[in-house]
């Protein structure tokens, strides 16, 4: 078996990081940051948490390159979904 086994300590560390991230996101939500900063902070923390789950709990960091391509393709198509939709809605007032 050439499979990489992630150690228990790594799992615990990621778990702690996720709990800290959750705490920070709740505390930050009650602060009134200027402009759109609130949603930027919330989404940044969420993306970091999701990345930790994907890389370590879902073992992508230790997986074949093909798995990386599949994961990236999901983000790519999500990008198309959002970009095309908002290129419509955001520009409707331009006419």
């Amino acid at each position: 078996m050439s499979e990489h086994i992630v150690s228990r300590n790594v799992y615990l560390l990621i778990f702690l990081a996720l709990m800290v991230g959750t705490t920070i996101t709740v505390l930050a939500a009650f602060q009134d940051f200027p402009g759109p900063l609130n949603v930027i902070v919330a989404m940044t923390i969420a993306v970091v948490k999701a990345t930790l789950v994907v890389l370590y709990f879902m073992h992508v960091r230790y997986s074949a390159r093909l798995i990386w391509v599949i994961v990236a393709s999901a983000l790519f198509w999500m990008g198309i979904l959002f970009a095309l939709t908002f290129s419509d809605y955001w520009t409707r007032g331009w006419l």
């Binding site: 086994i5 615990l12 990621i14 940051f33 999701a50 709990f57 074949a64 999901a74 959002f82």
Partner: protein, 238 residues
């Protein structure tokens, strides 16, 4: 040549399917297939995240007012419960990789229990929304959407209702995925108790774990987007 190959194949692990060369190739193919499925799941939830983003950008005040009526404590506790369940799921895979059968069974049971706790808390929240007349449309006979909310000037109740359509669609689909996940884990537990999974053969636990973590990731985004978006405007909690 073909005969010796067949003989060699026969001598390998009983779980090895005939169309795979060896256990490692079979495991990697399974993981790849699960990831392709998860891409379709990401696109499925992606449509709802798109609807959320669109309507929130159109009606920011209404969404903030509506969101501030969700119970932030229950939402936060559920986030912690789900993250903990992801840890126990990861530990179930870990135990199987090391051939620790007893730990594998214990972690699967813990994961199922945490999944059920999540759904229980979700049910309490849904009931609160029912009591507060926050279930959109006329889905519940005799209990139409009619909350007693004080709306700021210029905020339409229809747009508050829009938030709750999206809230119930997204958390509802998430809960359906949790129920399916608990079903998967129960099947795993049954075969696990029969000693079916070993360091050589643990693909079913591995790919079910991928699914479970994916459902956790969806919630990692749902929690701030649904529960926390209007708190900084001095909203009243739950």
């Amino acid at each position: 040549m073909a005969e010796s190959y067949a003989a060699e194949h026969e001598a390998s692990h009983p779980a090895l399917q005939h169309h795979f060369e060896n256990m490692e190739q079979q495991r990697e193919a399974g993981t790849l297939g699960m990831w392709v499925f998860l891409v379709t799941e990401i696109m499925f939830f992606g449509g709802m995240f798109l609807a959320y983003t669109l309507y929130r950008s159109k009606y920011p005040e209404a969404f903030a007012v509506a969101s501030n009526h969700l119970d932030i404590k229950l939402g936060a506790v559920n986030t912690a419960v789900l993250i903990l369940s992801s840890l126990t799921m990861a530990m179930a895979v870990f135990s199987t990789q090391l051939g620790r059968l007893k730990a594998q069974i214990i972690y699967l049971i813990l994961t199922i229990i945490l999944g059920l706790v999540f759904l229980g808390i979700k049910a309490v929240e849904y009931h609160e929304k029912y009591v507060d007349h926050l279930i959109p449309g006329t889905l519940i006979p005799g209990n139409p959407f009619n909350p007693h909310l004080e709306l700021p000037a210029g905020v339409s109740m229809r747009h508050v209702e829009m938030f709750y359509w999206i809230y119930f669609a997204m958390t509802g689909m998430h809960a359906v995925h949790m129920i399916i996940g608990i079903g998967l884990l129960s099947v795993l537990l049954y075969f696990s108790a029969k000693g079916r999974y070993s360091p050589e053969y643990h693909s079913p636990i591995e790919v079910s774990g991928l699914y479970w973590h994916f459902v956790d990731i969806v919630w990692i985004f749902l929690f701030p987007l649904l529960y926390l978006l209007g708190r900084h405007l001095g909203g009243h909690a739950g």
